[in-house]
């Protein structure tokens, strides 16, 4: 009887240990798989952005679109507005990312967008259209 009780306690302890182990394993897994994905839905947004990337690069190379000073894509003044859906979808996703980062860092989405615009301008290829701080468009 007494031996059985000891076994019960041991079984319960093992069960608790297993649950805790599974919980921590899940936590570790989530930490590593969500690296760089700082908010819910970030993975989906990233996938969509990756899928759009070839079309966007092509449009930038053609001089149809450029990067404005707020961190969004914009049709270069005078250029034909082709693939508007791609541009607006990209901007919507960017807005979602800026909003999430702004919330996380306790700042505004506008500031996040402006910081992103600086990053984009630095890494932009020669010949791509960019907008300066004053709102003027120039070719890099």
């Amino acid at each position: 009887m007494r031996y059985g009780k000891v076994l019960d306690i041991r079984r319960t302890a093992m069960r608790i240990y297993s649950i805790l182990y599974a919980f921590f394993a899940l936590l570790v897994l989530l930490t590593f798989t969500t690296n760089g994905m700082c908010f819910a839905g970030a993975g989906d947004i990233k996938t969509r952005m990756q899928e759009r990337l070839p079309a966007i690069v092509k449009m930038k190379d053609s001089g149809i679109i450029g990067e404005n000073n707020k961190g969004f894509l914009e049709f270069v003044p005078g250029a034909a507005k082709k693939n508007e859906s791609v541009v607006s979808a990209e901007n919507n996703d960017r807005q979602a990312v800026y909003n999430a980062i702004a919330k996380q860092q306790n700042t505004t989405a506008t500031l996040v967008g402006e910081r992103r615009a600086i990053q984009i301008a630095e890494s932009a290829s020669a010949g791509h259209w960019l907008q300066d701080d004053s709102g003027n468009w120039y070719k890099k």
Partner: protein, 69 residues
């Protein structure tokens, strides 16, 4: 007798001086200038944190864009 009285009174006087409390009060005043947190520092800090968060998110996409160029 007079001499003895004089000596005793002098001795008493000296003893009384020894019993008194002598305190030297020193005061030092340190002026602390008011700490001024300039807004520019806060802005730089926010910018750094935002840049880091942007890098974390967009690094893969930026890499892919470079490969496409």
């Amino acid at each position: 007798m007079k001499k003895l009285l004089c000596t005793l009174s002098l001795l008493l006087f000296l003893i009384s001086l020894g019993c008194t409390k002598h305190e030297v009060e020193t005061r030092s005043q340190v002026e602390v200038a008011p700490v001024e947190v300039k807004p520019i520092h806060i802005t730089i800090d926010v910018n750094i944190r935002v840049d880091k968060a942007l890098d974390d998110f967009f690094s893969d996409i930026d890499e892919s864009a470079k490969e496409l160029k």
